[in-house]
């Protein structure tokens, strides 16, 4: 197994994709957090919070993560499909015909790449918060960053599983990005307008996003002294982010982990039987 893990690391670091996708992920984290941090120091906002700086860097960092995870999803999606596309999968299976081992090695290696993505995005977001002169409580910040790393890992693994399942690189990447950005939002709107708003939180993208957004809001509003006009502010933000019907952050985490696990398993079962011609 350690032989395969070494081989998988080499596959990633001998090509450029891993950093080409990491750059936009880091930039998104930085820009979102900078914007949020700066917004939280504006006069109107601080007046509402009785002169406190509202740690808006937290929910904005969360949104940054939720966009940045798309790049982790894409990278994960290339794990198997890149090998299918360039036909190196033949050589890979010749050196390790136990395809379950190959997939397990990929999952392990891409998990650590997910951690790397999460950490780099955290550093970028930290810079953003400092530039915006509104750095939240360190404990809150790193709690959110930890959940962000976890989300990044799960999205990467989801990509690996999806790629193993679908096999075709363009199909995997275009399909998953279109689903995440177009299909699921539309389905969610349709469900909500038909009084089925309690279903979307259990969909793939929504559960993956909610785990980060929810904990960010919880941390932002915890211990914040708000004027009577703003007692409902957390509810307002939850509605804005479509979190009204969502479970606790860890509930969304479990739902999303179940999705990633299901696609990983399906990918394994299909890849195991796939003829490499």
């Amino acid at each position: 197994m350690d032989r395969l893990i070494r081989a998988e690391f080499r596959k990633i670091f001998t090509t450029n994709l891993w950093w080409a996708l990491l750059i936009p992920a880091a930039v998104l984290s930085l820009v979102f957090t900078w914007g949020g941090a700066a917004l939280g120091t504006l006069g109107d906002v601080t007046r509402a919070a009785r002169g406190q700086n509202i740690p808006l860097a937290l929910p904005f960092f969360a949104q940054g993560i939720n966009f940045a995870t798309v790049f982790a999803l894409i990278l994960g999606g290339t794990a198997v499909t890149g090998e299918m596309r360039h036909k190196t999968i033949t050589t890979t299976y010749l050196t390790s015909p136990k395809r379950g081992d190959v997939l397990a090695a990929k999952l392990a290696v891409y998990s650590s790449i997910g951690v790397l993505y999460g950490l780099v995005c955290m550093v970028a977001a930290t810079l953003g918060a400092l530039f915006g002169s509104n750095f939240p409580e360190a404990a809150d910040w790193f709690t959110l960053a930890g959940v962000g790393v976890l989300a990044m890992v799960l999205w990467t693994l989801l990509g690996v599983g999806l790629g193993a399942l679908i096999g075709n690189q363009v199909g995997t990447i275009v399909g998953s990005v279109v689903y995440v950005l177009v299909v699921e939002p539309i389905v969610s709107v349709v469900l909500r307008t038909n009084d089925l708003g309690d279903i979307p939180p259990y969909l793939l993208n929504k559960s993956g996003g909610d785990m980060v957004s929810q904990i960010a809001l919880d941390l932002s509003f915890r211990g914040l002294q708000l004027g009577s006009n703003f007692r409902g502010a957390q509810g307002f933000f939850e509605e804005l982010l479509g979190l009204t019907y969502s479970p606790e952050w860890w509930g969304s985490l479990l739902v999303f982990a179940a999705w990633a696990g299901a696609f990983g398993l399906a990918g394994y079962l299909v890849a195991k039987r796939r003829d490499i011609t």
Binding site: R3, A7, R10, T14, T88, T91, L94, P97
Partner: protein, 316 residues
């Protein structure tokens, strides 16, 4: 784990893709110490067979073993079998050395083995270049280098001469023969007999997913009939005389020329003399291997039933 014999056994192997029967009840054995050719026209099922042998394609029926074990039970197969497959390829942006280092890690050999095999196939100068800029011949060499990483006992090559220049083919021939001489096993496929005729001792000839010949190449050469082309004064009379003498395979060619098989020129001359038929011209014709191969595998696309004997039009 495996018996270390270097023997490759294919037994009753069958594969259908949807309604297409790619390989049909195929059986043969490849012994160590020889280069065995795996011959057949494009689409005969060679690649599918090799991919089943290597565990990349699941057979519909039958099995294939190397060293007495199926490929996936070989433990670390890179140490036992090296394969160069037609559809094998490379990441275009990854350098040749990096490619080899990826699989050196997977096989579990030290990194300097990558440089050794690069040197072995003559690619040392191109080690740092991305494979995307490689010629077909360089890709074949790199594929061979990859196959050799684990210093395997068995080498399987699918159309390795594709894209090689004549010098490269000659180099490959010498390499494969040297490899087999050391007691190792080589199975090499081709759709062109001429390409591997000088390399192989044994052949498995495949047509429409079935083996039509399996054995030493020399025996195939000898087994085939030669025929005599004769221009007699009276074709009808000579034909009956030949048939009385037991030579029934006589073909009427245009302009009163006869083609008689399984006979030598001296016999035809004697029979003609006894039958008082004058002979204006006579020549012996030996089938070369290319013709034998063509005849064995012809009919692949015509849907005609398989014939082990020479073709059609013989008067009996």
């Amino acid at each position: 784990m495996h018996d270390g014999s270097g023997r490759v056994v294919v037994q009753g192997l069958t594969k259908t893709f949807g309604s297409v029967l790619a390989v049909q009840n195929l059986s043969f054995t490849v012994e160590p110490g020889t280069v065995t050719g795996f011959l057949g026209p494009n689409g005969a099922g060679k690649t599918t067979t090799l991919r089943m042998l290597l565990g990349l394609v699941t057979p519909t029926a039958g099995f294939a073993t190397i060293n007495g074990r199926p490929f996936h039970s070989l433990g670390n197969p890179g140490r036992v079998v090296g394969a160069v497959l037609e559809a094998q390829s490379f990441h275009p942006k990854r350098s040749a050395r990096d490619h080899l280092r990826v699989y050196a890690a997977a096989v579990g050999v030290p990194d300097q083995r990558a440089d050794e095999v690069l040197h072995l196939v003559g690619l040392t100068d191109a080690a740092e270049r991305g494979v995307g800029g490689f010629s077909m011949g360089m890709r074949q060499r790199l594929a061979l280098a990859t196959a050799l990483l684990g210093d395997p006992q068995v080498l399987v090559l699918d159309e390795p001469a594709n894209g090689l220049d004549p010098e490269g083919i000659k180099w490959l021939r010498t390499f494969l023969q040297g490899f087999a001489k050391g007691g190792r096993t080589v199975l090499v496929s081709s759709h062109l007999l001429a390409e591997i005729e000088q390399t192989v001792e044994q052949v498995v000839i495949l047509s429409r997913g079935q083996a039509v010949y399996y054995g030493p190449l020399d025996q195939l050469r000898k087994s085939q009939q030669s025929r005599v082309i004769v221009t007699p004064s009276d074709p009808g009379k000579l034909t009956s005389a030949l048939q009385e003498a037991g030579h029934t395979m006589v073909e009427q060619l245009p302009d009163g020329v006869l083609a008689v098989s399984n006979v030598d020129a001296r016999q035809v001359g004697d029979i003609a003399l006894a039958a008082e038929v004058a002979i204006y011209g006579m020549s012996s014709e030996h089938a070369d291997l290319e013709q034998i191969f063509f005849r064995l595998t012809s009919g692949q696309f015509s849907g005609a039933p398989q014939q082990q004997q020479w073709g059609h039009g013989w008067t009996a």
